[in-house]
């Protein structure tokens, strides 16, 4: 009788689990059509593995690249995919607008909640500590170098390692040699859209700037016209005057920057470790011809802007759908869970990178689960396809005490917009009055902060 009862109980539990996992999940994280190798990874490995474990869950593959322009319309019409990727400046806005789902209960049930890196968890939580997303990975900005251009300019040591700049002054001097010897631009600086302000904020930090501060009454103050920011912008002006930038920075955006670097039109480009596939796989630079260094120091020190990509969930997704989507992440090796499936997922990702000429690099720990992080490090060690010396300076810089800085917290995209306007003026008019332009940008940002934050 006891045996029968326990069998019944087990059957009931199985049934309840199965019914809990009966859901339809739209995978907004499915790769774009043009990325056939990544699609193959999902089609031949992740999806079949998931189907085997959760046959009652229907998966709808539907790539969605997060875009601020389209998101509100999608959210209002209930068409946001069950799971999608965004970036770290977005969660607070999405949470405030009620456009993403609270996944705290699901994370608690899975035991993942306390394994999220605390500073990232804060970015993904509301004021009551409820959590709305999980981290995919983290990144830190540094400087990518096209080794071929440095070789052509004769700027390599006896081991063939580029003689890279450690400060902005050195970058200007290095840039002059590159320009003279190869004709390539020293740096691809972005000034087409907000990515320009994003990169510039990191440059300004290296001159000791802090772009937003909070006074004793809790009021947020814009700090875009301090002597430190002026010094940073003046350095940009020097790059313009010396002709060290690509021909038209106002037409350069995040994507074109990688094309300029990958094809050797520019020797250097500010970029992060999570985008090493861009110059290599997408723009043809050989995996051994890419180098990464820490952000050059200004009058202060080197800082790396740190951000990343979180997974978030549609506001209208049910708990079952959220749970199924989280389980899919587990299969992909993107969760703090070490199972055979997740270990295989980590290996599949590394194999994909090796096969496609993308550097396999150590990841930034977004989970605090030691076993998971160790497994991740083991896979990187096994599949490493780069000369460690090419990335040594970068990893030294980002792991240095206080070397990482999160983005400025308030109205960040609008702040980037204001800085981009100044950059556009400076790169198109070498005689621009930097102080006056930054005074205007500062006043504009203060208006925006007063309207949206200081109430």
């Amino acid at each position: 009788m006891k045996k029968f009862l326990s069998l019944m109980l087990a059957a009931l539990m199985l049934l309840s689990t199965a019914s809990a996992m009966a859901a339809t999940v739209t995978l907004g994280i499915y790769p774009v059509d043009t990325d056939s190798a990544a699609k193959e990874n999902h089609d031949t490995y992740y999806i079949p593995a998931f189907k085997e474990l959760y046959p009652d869950v229907e998966l709808i593959t539907s790539n969605y690249t997060y875009a601020v322009e389209t998101f509100t319309a999608l959210a209002e019409s209930g068409k946001v995919p069950t799971i999608f990727e965004t970036w770290y400046t977005e969660p607070q806005k999405l949470i405030r607008n009620g456009q993403v789902a609270d996944i705290t209960d699901a994370l608690t049930e899975l035991g993942w909640l306390d394994k999220i890196n605390p500073s990232i968890r804060a970015l993904l939580s509301d004021e009551n500590g409820r959590v709305y997303g999980v981290p995919r990975d983290g990144y830190a900005l540094g400087m990518m170098l096209n080794v071929e251009v440095f070789e052509d300019a004769g700027l390599v040591d006896e081991n063939g390692i580029p003689l890279y700049p450690k400060t902005w002054d050195e970058l200007i001097e290095t840039g002059k040699i590159i320009k003279e010897k190869t004709g390539s631009a020293a740096l691809c600086l972005l000034a087409q859209d907000n990515a320009g302000g994003w990169h510039f904020s990191n440059i300004a930090w290296t001159f000791g700037a802090q772009l937003e501060v909070q006074d004793e009454n809790g009021k947020w103050l814009a700090q875009l016209n301090t002597p430190e920011v002026v010094a940073a912008m003046t350095m940009v002006q020097t790059l313009v005057r010396e002709g060290l930038l690509t021909s038209d920075p106002t037409s350069e955006n995040w994507g074109t920057g990688f094309a300029q670097l990958g094809t050797g039109a520019a020797a250097m480009y500010i970029a992060a470790n999570d985008a090493v596939n861009q110059p290599t796989q997408n723009n043809g630079l050989a995996v051994d011809k890419l180098m990464m260094i820490g952000m050059p120091a200004g009058s202060a020190r080197s800082y790396s802007l740190s951000g990343g990509t979180p997974y978030m969930f549609a506001a209208n997704a049910t708990q079952e759908e959220i749970m199924a989507a989280l389980k899919y992440l587990e299969i992909m090796g993107r969760a703090p869970v070490l199972t055979e499936a997740s270990k295989a997922g980590l290996r599949a990702d590394a194999e994909y990178r090796v096969a496609n000429g993308i550097p396999v690099l150590p990841a930034f720990p977004v989970w605090t689960d030691e076993a998971f992080n160790q497994a991740q490090a083991d896979v990187v060690a096994e599949f490493s396809n780069v000369d460690d010396r090419m990335f040594e300076n970068y990893f030294d810089a980002v792991s240095a005490e206080g070397g990482l800085k999160m983005e400025e917290p308030m109205e960040t995209q609008q702040m980037y917009g204001e800085l981009t306007k100044v950059l556009q003026e400076v790169v198109t008019n070498p005689e621009a009055d930097v102080q006056a332009l930054l005074d205007t940008a500062n006043a504009n940002l203060q208006t925006i902060l007063d309207e949206n934050v200081n109430k």
Binding site: V68, E69, T70, T72, A73, A75, E76, K93, R96, N97, G98, Q99, A191, Q192, D193, S247, D248, T250, S251, Q413, Q414, E418, T420, K421, V422, Q424, E425, V427, T428, N429, L437, T440, A443, N444, T447, E451
Partner: protein, 304 residues
């Protein structure tokens, strides 16, 4: 008896008219429904939204004219956008107004291959708008890889930063718009020219009038009313310029090419503030309605 008969006749006439009207209403119904759904309701909703604060697309709190005052008095991009929208309109009249008229006259005067030229000038209209913009973006690239700069290079002229020069950017965008849009207007002018009686020209030729004299004394007076109408329509269309600067320059450099409709797009879709976007839309509408009233006034004169 006759009163009863006349009443019955009136009733029958009314019924007949109602039946006739019903048919007309039924024919119009799909159009009215579509207009209501896609134009009138959103229009009314945008006006209502402009007086509220919004979360996503939902209104949360009535704030009266606050969104209007914020945009006009505090938003850093509003006045550059107003200035530029008028500049686009002004430059489009300087660069683009006479081009279709001249093209139409040239085609009209052409004796052979008329339909070839007609097709050729209309071809840019048939190209997808974004493809056209990207095409011109490549042509106007700032360095030696831009085709326009390559041609200038052959003449020994240094490369010009066409789209990142604050003074050049609006005229250059207007040139691109003219290339894309002039064909349609040319066809309207051509239709106008073809309606002018040939006899007048023949009489003028007999009197010894040359081509310039014919254009000045016959063609221009005959198409004057048409030109006046197209003039107003062009102002209304260009004032709402959006995708050309958005794709070519993003509104830069430093707001040198940002337009009012781009500001609407930015507020709504990039910043998610639909209320402020609506307030700018309403202001644009007011300007356009004023222009339309002027247009109607002129049209009425034309009809008289």
């Amino acid at each position: 008896m006759s009163t009863i008969k006349s009443n019955a006749l009136k009733q029958s006439a009314r019924r007949h008219r109602a039946l006739k009207d019903l048919g007309a209403w039924l024919i119009m119904l799909p159009g009215i429904a579509l207009f209501a759904f896609f134009v009138w309701v959103p229009l009314a909703e945008a006006v209502r939204m402009s007086f509220y604060k919004t979360q996503g697309m939902r209104t949360t709190e009535f704030v009266g004219l606050y969104n209007y005052s914020y945009m006009m008095l505090k938003d850093p991009d509003f006045w550059p956008a107003v200035r530029n929208s008028f500049l686009y309109t002004g430059w489009s009249l300087v660069i683009g107004f006479l081009v279709p008229m001249a093209l139409a006259m040239m085609i009209h005067e052409t004796k052979r291959g008329k339909s070839l030229f007609r097709t050729a000038v209309y071809l840019p209209n048939m190209m997808p708008a974004l493809a056209t913009i990207f095409l011109w973006k490549y042509l106007f690239r700032a360095d030696q890889t831009g085709y326009v700069n390559m041609l200038l290079g052959k003449l020994g002229i240094a490369p010009v930063s066409w789209l990142s020069n604050a003074q050049l950017v609006i005229p250059v965008i207007v040139v691109i718009m003219t290339w894309k849009g002039a064909g349609a207007t040319t066809l309207i002018y051509l239709a106008g020219l073809q309606s002018i009686s040939q006899e007048i020209y023949e009489a003028a030729i007999i009197d010894g009038a040359g081509i310039w004299s014919r254009i000045r004394h016959i063609t221009l007076p005959q198409i004057y009313n048409l030109a006046r109408t197209l003039f107003i329509l062009q102002i209304i269309a260009v004032f709402q310029i959006l995708y050309e600067p958005m794709v070519l320059t993003g509104g830069g450099p430093n707001n040198a090419s940002v337009s009012l409709m781009q500001l609407v797009f930015r507020q709504a879709f990039e910043l998610g503030d639909y209320a402020k976007a609506s307030s700018v839309s309403v202001m644009v509408s007011v300007v356009l309605i004023t222009m339309t009233l002027v247009y109607n006034q002129l049209s009425r004169k034309k009809e008289m």
